[in-house]
Amino acid sequence: MNNDSQGPLWEVFLQKKAGQPFVHCGNLHAYDKEMALQNARDLYTRRNEGMSIWVVPSSAIVASSPEDMGSFFEPANDKIYRHPTFYQIPDGVGHM
């Protein structure tokens, strides 16, 4: 095996239209920021799939791990009072 790499990995996020959130669409290899952006354009927006692009080095992403998924998200499980349906609103006061 050689050391002739394709550069580091980058994650690509696209915004479809102004005002919409950026959504992860895939990843690619590039040597620097500018090339990552150009490669993202060529690879992920050949049919106007996006009008704005973020590229982020994959190594900069911090992710939760599936093994402790249960305990990590556990605090939200018993807090039904965070949802609107928890509350009783009398009839006749209109939509709330």
């Binding site: 095996m1 050689n2 394709q6 895939g26 690879l43």
Partner: protein, 313 residues
């Protein structure tokens, strides 16, 4: 809380039709199977650029040249989506490219056949991409998340590939007698190699059982092949062309066509490296990779220097 049984968790996810993601626990053999399948798929996209790329400079009109360029560029993109999907399982781009360039890795046997005439460009888009789509539509629901998501994107892009191929075939089939003959000749040569794309018959397909069990594949080779023949026949009839198979006929009982199996000895021989273009394809890939080495080196050196300047400033 008891000890988590990862294997049970994995099986439960499959049973619920949930996807497996890169950081999830998975059996070693599942991982190995996927790395092999996804990297072979990626290699097929990349090597698949060669037979059609061969015609870009000789396309008969500006329109057809633009179309062919766009299609071949898409295939390059498909290869890149798939390489990163395989990388998420722990292999590296270098490792995969190395396996391709040294001839260790396999790719779809179809790309070891030559594109002799302009009609072959039509037949490849229509039949070869058509067969690939049939397989890839199924893989949109494969159990490994990154692979499934790459397939969704790929399928969206593929449909123009098949349509442009069929459009090209209609021009030839309804053109001069010489053009029609060219179309028929292309169909004759591509028919059986296309049927081989779905892989060996179910009874002798070594990897199928696990692939179905793990929901990597959801239909068998023979099921997909039958569906492809059923779908293709009306398209062939419309062109006024015929398949090179005297046994092909409608079977009312199974509501599908009966057809002859391709020559599986030829299939094995092509996979072993003895097809008409194996050596040429491998040589082209190596040439292009080696001649691009200076570009990668320069880009790497430039990025390194920029980084140093950034840190110094």
């Amino acid at each position: 809380m008891g000890v988590i049984n990862f294997e049970e968790l994995f099986e439960a996810k499959l049973a619920k039709n949930e996807m497996i993601e890169p950081k999830d626990w998975m059996p070693d053999n599942y991982r190995k199977h996927l790395i092999r399948q996804i990297s072979q798929h990626a290699h097929s996209e990349i090597v698949g650029m060669l037979p059609e790329g061969n015609w870009i400079t000789r396309a008969p009109s500006l329109r057809s040249k633009l179309v062919l360029l766009a299609k071949v560029q898409d295939e390059g993109g498909h290869g890149l989506y798939l390489y990163t999907a395989a990388e998420s399982l722990g292999t590296s781009r270098d490792e995969m490219l190395d396996a391709l360039h040294t001839g260790k890795a396999k790719y779809s046997s179809i790309f070891n056949y030559p594109t002799l005439t302009w009609a072959d460009v039509g037949a490849v888009g229509w039949l070869v991409d058509g067969a690939a789509i049939m397989n890839q539509v199924m893989l949109q629901r494969t159990s490994y998340g990154p692979y499934a998501r790459a397939m969704v994107r790929i399928c969206k892009e593929e449909s123009f590939h098949q349509r442009q191929g069929y459009e090209l075939m209609t021009h030839l089939a309804f053109g001069t007698p010489a053009q029609k003959e060219m179309a028929q000749d292309a169909l004759n040569r591509w028919w059986y190699p296309t049927l081989m794309m779905f892989g060996p018959p179910d009874v002798e397909s070594p990897n199928s059982e696990n692939a179905i069990k793990w929901r990597i594949k959801r239909e068998t080779n023979d099921q997909l092949r039958q569906r492809f023949v059923n779908q293709s026949m009306p398209q062939i009839d419309y062109l006024g062309l015929t398949v090179p198979d005297p046994n092909l006929k409608w079977n009312e009982e199974k509501q599908g066509f009966d057809f002859s199996e391709p020559n599986w000895a030829e299939f094995k021989n092509v996979i072993k490296g003895n097809g008409p273009c194996n050596k040429e394809r491998l040589a082209s890939r190596n040439k292009s990779h080696n001649e691009g080495a200076w570009v990668r080196e320069a880009a790497m050196a430039f990025a390194k220097k920029q980084n140093e300047n950034y840190q110094a400033a």
